[in-house]
Symmetry: C2
Amino acid sequence: MLTIKNIGELALFPPGPIGGRAMGKVERITSAAVVVDEDRIAWLGPESELDASIGGDVLNAEGGCVLPGLIDCHTHTVFAGTREHEFVRRIAGDSYEQIARDGGGIRVTVEAVRSASCDQLVELALPRLARMLRNGVTTVEIKSGYGLTVADELKMLEAIARLKKLQPIELVPTYLAAHTVPREFDGRGDAYLDAILDEKVLLRISGEGLAEFCDVFCETTAFDVAQSRRVLQAAKKFALTPKLHADQITQIGATVLAGEVGAISADHLETIDDAGIDAMKKAGCVAVLLPGCSFYLGVKQAPARRLIEANLPVALATDYNPGSAMVESLPLVMGIAATQMRMTPVETVIAVTANAAAALNRADRLGAIRVGMQADLVVLDVPNLERLVYEPGRNCVRTVIKNGSIVVSPG
Amino acid sequence: MLTIKNIGELALFPPGPIGGRAMGKVERITSAAVVVDEDRIAWLGPESELDASIGGDVLNAEGGCVLPGLIDCHTHTVFAGTREHEFVRRIAGDSYEQIARDGGGIRVTVEAVRSASCDQLVELALPRLARMLRNGVTTVEIKSGYGLTVADELKMLEAIARLKKLQPIELVPTYLAAHTVPREFDGRGDAYLDAILDEKVLLRISGEGLAEFCDVFCETTAFDVAQSRRVLQAAKKFALTPKLHADQITQIGATVLAGEVGAISADHLETIDDAGIDAMKKAGCVAVLLPGCSFYLGVKQAPARRLIEANLPVALATDYNPGSAMVESLPLVMGIAATQMRMTPVETVIAVTANAAAALNRADRLGAIRVGMQADLVVLDVPNLERLVYEPGRNCVRTVIKNGSIVVSPG
């Protein structure tokens, strides 16, 4: 038993997905306590109503706000190499296309990942995950997609599987072999899809639990709608739930496809249109926005307010990757969403907890503080949730509890 | 003696101010070493040329990049209270004016500072400065301006004076009594100026070293050009060097005034015009940009590229304050400048070192790595300076050396 006392504000909202105006609603219990029994939340309420006979350990929240553990539901945290020189070229005005023509872009990361061993990928990712945990993040989705051969994609998924056992964050693997067409298949995207959608490959990924989701970059420079449909329908046969990189740069109908295939989420959405919004609503699809990416690229943000007004459940994630979003801090991304997209602090909190859990098919267990839910909790050093978003760039996390255990302590 | 060995990249540029294209130029010595003798840099160069007979302590930079200690040349770090509820109202669409009419805005901070003792202001500022130091910041300018009575302004300056002795960062105090017209003087700005420009007050501030600079918020909602001129001319008589909050919201000629009075810097500049640029160039005025503020308010950034092309020396600072820029991380502000203003990483580094030192009249001693300069140095955990800007929101600082002493160590 672990009792968290002296909680300045306990933030309560239902499990996700939470759409539209309901995203602005939070119940706050002040002077609260939470009792954790093994890995579950056993009781919560005003500290004055706490059963005095409860034994076990006590954690003093020192008046801090307590939130569900944060969930980063779209990342590329397993990668090798950095691309700071490309970053400098983009600032100087070179386009992504120019940089790609000169051998830059995603292919640089693909080469580095292909050259790395699984052990090396694990070693590179561990400190990243350790820093994410200190930022209050207790669940992270990680995509493959920098191998672009069956063997290298499997190596990335294997690295994620190993990382699960080496640190406390719950990792959620996604198969993103359809990230881009690799150099060897230039002009032969369908042939590349033949390789990565081989039934034996999908059977292994699904059977060994190497991925839960299958994602595709549906974009003029990657895979068109017909190809993306093919990827996601093939994956569904092997119980890999569809996700899409959709409507980022060009409007080609990716979010309409998301609705059609019943994707659990469509991610990016900078150029989403009304048809896409309708399709996502009908399919119950979570809108995952990645404001750190638009910030990093210095381009227009997704229309968060429009999506919330359309009653979609909006989630936020870092998109952490070495090309378009070398931003690993989910709280900073919440600050970017607040200042650049006008999402309120309450909306950003729900977007990285209840709705992010829904985007990862874990809303029954993660993303909200309720009796019976998993005890993934973050204790802040500030008295209300607004302060977490009000101070971008400062780590306000004092203590992190994962699955009932204290995994980050103050100092 | 302290020898820093195994430096992956030592970034060299001349002392500030550095204007225009020269801001893009840096000399990089790889596999470098630096020798520190007492508080000064005694030698620097390739490690292969290091005198093997030098004794003393050795610091292994482990291949990290070494930069001058970062300088935050425009902050309001001494304050009391927070304004997260106003932050939420702004996101919801309320204007600063509406919030001010409802009793919000700067006056909330003024009330909190007036109610606080000098000791309390010191206690509140200490952890902020400790975090700034861990971000590699070794010199911080701090303004008064939340007291708005002579006694409360002196209390703020006294707090800065005490803070100088309590922690390693070099603090540079600025008298900003002309921050806004306090409630008691509503509609009587000139009468307020009579009070704060009283010769006995200015004599004490100058004589006791309570401030080095005098700043004024030259804006339609604060002090007009004639009033601002009066403030800065009065201050100059007492050897308080002029600075201005200029051209932030409205173009009323504040940067032209900066040139006229020979201000050492004009800060903000979101609405600067050609006349202002010319005036600043003629006066040798440093352009201090505050991209964290525009980011925080979700408004247009200052035209950094235009100012650099006009050959002005550009500095960057956080503007850290509880209303318009609750952003304490200078490296994050460098990232905002790179992604939102298209300043290159090299330009951002020079902007927070050589040029920030120039904005604080310390370019002879701080802001560049040269033999004879003060040994304020930052060792990064990344091999080149680009990486510091490439990874916004991650603290890349491994070791901080202030005045020849190690004040932040890894871990």
